[in-house]
């Protein structure tokens, strides 16, 4: 998992909870490098799971809620860090429909070893998009938070429904987005 996810996660913990909480979950996770993450590094996915689980324990907040919250935060950071990917005039459904072919393609150019989730998208009409999520890491809640962050960024009224595919252990989920015209 890319380091930026870790650095932004800890950033969010410090801001949302406290620097102490961040320090606490780092110590509790017994990380091999002591939690010294850098945005350009690559780290094991298990460390993120450990951090999130410990934060859930410390904050008495369910893991899915934490991941969705983190997703919203992460999207806002992406907008700040990589504005070229968010040109004016873009809308929620168009942006999300191009995640796999546009955003992930660019990420892979920079980090050929990056392990990214796969999004198969289909426009079911001008105002409807179906996104099928697939990832061995089963972090569809994080994806949901990112989609919410996207909707919030473009300022549109979009209804999001998530369906986790039974029997997949959360590795497959479908997001159905329906835009409401103002």
């Amino acid at each position: 998992m890319k380091g930026i996810v870790f650095t932004e996660f800890l950033e969010m913990v410090e801001k949302t909870f406290s620097p102490e909480t961040a320090d606490q979950i780092i110590l509790a996770s017994e990380l091999p490098h002591g939690g010294a993450y850098t945005a350009v590094g690559t780290y094991p996915h298990a460390e993120m799971v450990s951090l999130v689980v410990h934060l859930s324990e410390v904050s008495a907040t369910p893991v899915p809620d934490l991941l969705r919250t983190f997703g919203r935060h992460l999207f806002s950071r992406f907008v700040a860090l990589y504005p070229a990917f968010f040109p004016s005039g873009m809308d929620t459904l168009t942006f999300l429909a191009g995640v796999e072919t546009h955003i992930h393609a660019e990420v892979l150019k920079l980090y050929p070893d990056a392990q990214l989730p796969r999004f198969d998208t289909r426009r079911a009409g001008e105002d409807e998009l179906v996104m099928d999520y697939r990832s061995d890491r089963a972090m569809h809640d994080l994806a949901e938070g990112l989609i919410h962050g996207c909707i919030q960024h473009f300022g549109e009224r979009v209804h999001l429904r998530k369906e986790v595919v039974d029997g997949t252990g959360g590795t497959c989920a479908r997001f159905v987005l329906r835009r409401e015209r103002l």
């Binding site: 320090d23 780092i26 002591g34 010294a36 850098t38 590094g41």
Partner: protein, 471 residues
């Protein structure tokens, strides 16, 4: 946990993170440097390749522009993609004007009766194939020209046919020259036909002239015989009888002339009978010669048309017929004729062609003997079958012979060593022999050593087993 301890741990993590970031940065920088080197190398290669390509393109353009042929690159839908300068000379339009036009814009429309064969430029249906065709094109100034086009598919590096490339040559002048050639050839054929007819006429005159010699001799003999006829003696005897008509018994019994009259009449009758036989024989010869003239004419005509009727005939009979036509002449010239008939084959031939050849052999032999003035002029006639299953009819004389250098030319039309010859007899004989699937050969050991002319024919069926022609 004190705030100081917390800050120390955060600072420691930040330091570690910074070191990790610096390590990664250095690693990335190194990778970038190496990538940059590769890019520079690649750029250098690209630059060299671009330079080479420009040079190649310039060379290619120079070649295409210096070609004598017009060059067109045509897309599958017939649209012209490229044209060299030569096309301007050919068709009047500049390369710029040609771009975007279709090949059909340049071709004379089919509706005007010209072959519209431009479809090969539009190979969507047939697929690309190499084609050579003649196109009737419209020049910009309106005149028409004929261009020969060699078109071939133009493939890109992936092997896909992207266009047809065609080289066009103006063949209008050649077409006109070809038409003129056809016209001249027709005239040549006509002239050749007339020459052939003249050759036939020459042959007729030659052969008829030869036979007419015999006819002339025969008619002279008949006239001389008639002049010397004993018929006048008979008339005198009749006049004597009429003179003594009144006392005929007394005249026949007492008068000395009357008593000799029966014996005289007997003698005259015997003479007249002998004379009649000689005249009949000569008349038969004359008739045979006249028939031969008739056949000569028919045969020579057959040279110009088709061959005469073939028949199965004994080779010996053909020789005898030819000898018969020379019998008188042989006797007059005191020539001894020797026959060596070693076989009795039959031939399927046009009788008169063979006889004509043999007559020519015998006549040439007579002339050779007449010139040689040998003490025992001899002609030997040979009939035999060869190991190759051919029939050989040969005439050998002990006359003046033939120089070696003449042996190869003797069958050529017009070649003769005789003062009054035409050089046609052996030539036409050789042609006739070849027509029958046979050949004529000649052999001589040189001047003063005689010569042998031989006609070789396939045994049985003549034309079905042709022999190799002489020479």
């Amino acid at each position: 946990m004190s705030e100081i301890e917390l800050l120390q741990r955060r600072l420691s993590r930040e330091r570690l993170a910074r070191k990790e970031a610096e390590r990664l940065l250095e690693e990335k920088s190194r990778a970038l440097f190496e990538t940059n080197l590769k890019l520079q190398e690649h750029a250098t290669h690209l630059e060299a390749e671009i330079t080479e390509r420009k040079r190649t393109e310039a060379r290619f353009r120079n070649i295409t522009e210096s070609l004598a042929e017009g060059l067109l690159l045509v897309a599958p839908d017939g649209v012209i993609l490229y044209a060299n300068q030569r096309m301007t000379n050919l068709i009047g339009h500049s390369p710029g004007e040609l771009l975007g036009k279709t090949i059909r814009d340049l071709v004379v429309p089919a509706a005007e009766g010209q072959p519209a064969r431009a479809q090969f430029w539009e190979f969507e249906d047939t697929g690309p194939v190499c084609i050579t065709a003649d196109l009737e094109l419209c020049h910009k100034d309106g005149h028409r020209l004929t261009a020969q086009v060699h078109a071939a598919p133009y493939y890109d590096s992936s092997g896909t046919c992207r266009a047809m490339i065609g080289a066009l040559t103006d063949i209008s002048d050649r077409r006109r020259a070809e038409a003129e050639l056809v016209r001249l050839n027709d005239r040549l054929v006509e002239a050749s036909r007339l020459a052939g007819m003249a050759e036939v006429a020459t042959g007729v005159l030659h052969n008829v002239g030869n036979v007419l010699n015999s006819v002339n001799v025969s008619s002279t003999l008949i006239r001389d015989q008639l002049r010397q006829s004993r018929l006048s003696h008979l008339l005198r005897a009749i006049a004597l009888l009429r003179e003594h008509e009144a006392n005929l018994p007394d005249f026949l019994s007492r008068d000395p002339r009357g008593r000799q009259l029966p014996a005289f009449l007997q003698l005259v009758t015997t003479h007249l009978q002998e004379e009649n036989l000689r005249l009949l024989k000569e008349a038969d010869g004359l008739d045979a010669n006249l028939q031969h003239i008739k056949h000569i004419v028919a045969m020579q005509q057959s040279f110009a048309r088709v061959g005469g009727a073939e028949e199965t005939i004994a080779a010996r009979d053909l020789l005898e017929q030819a000898i018969e036509l020379h019998t008188g002449a042989l006797q007059r010239d005191h020539i001894e004729l020797i026959r060596h008939y070693q076989a009795h084959p039959t031939l399927l031939v046009d009788r008169h062609k063979v006889v004509q050849i043999l007559v020519n052999f015998l006549r040439n032999a007579r002339h050779a003997l007449a010139e040689a003035k040998v003490p025992t002029p001899t002609i030997t006639v040979l009939l035999e079958t060869t190991p190759e299953q051919t029939v050989r009819l040969a005439v050998t004389d002990n006359g003046i012979g033939i120089p070696t250098e003449n042996l190869t030319r003797i069958f050529s039309h017009g070649f003769t060593t005789k003062r009054d010859g035409h050089g046609f007899g052996l030539h036409s004989g050789a042609l006739a022999a070849r027509e029958m699937g046979g050949r004529i050969t000649v052999a001589s050991e040189g001047p003063g050593r005689g010569a042998t002319f031989a006609l070789e024919l396939p045994a049985g069926a003549a034309s079905r087993n042709p022999l190799r022609p002489p020479g």
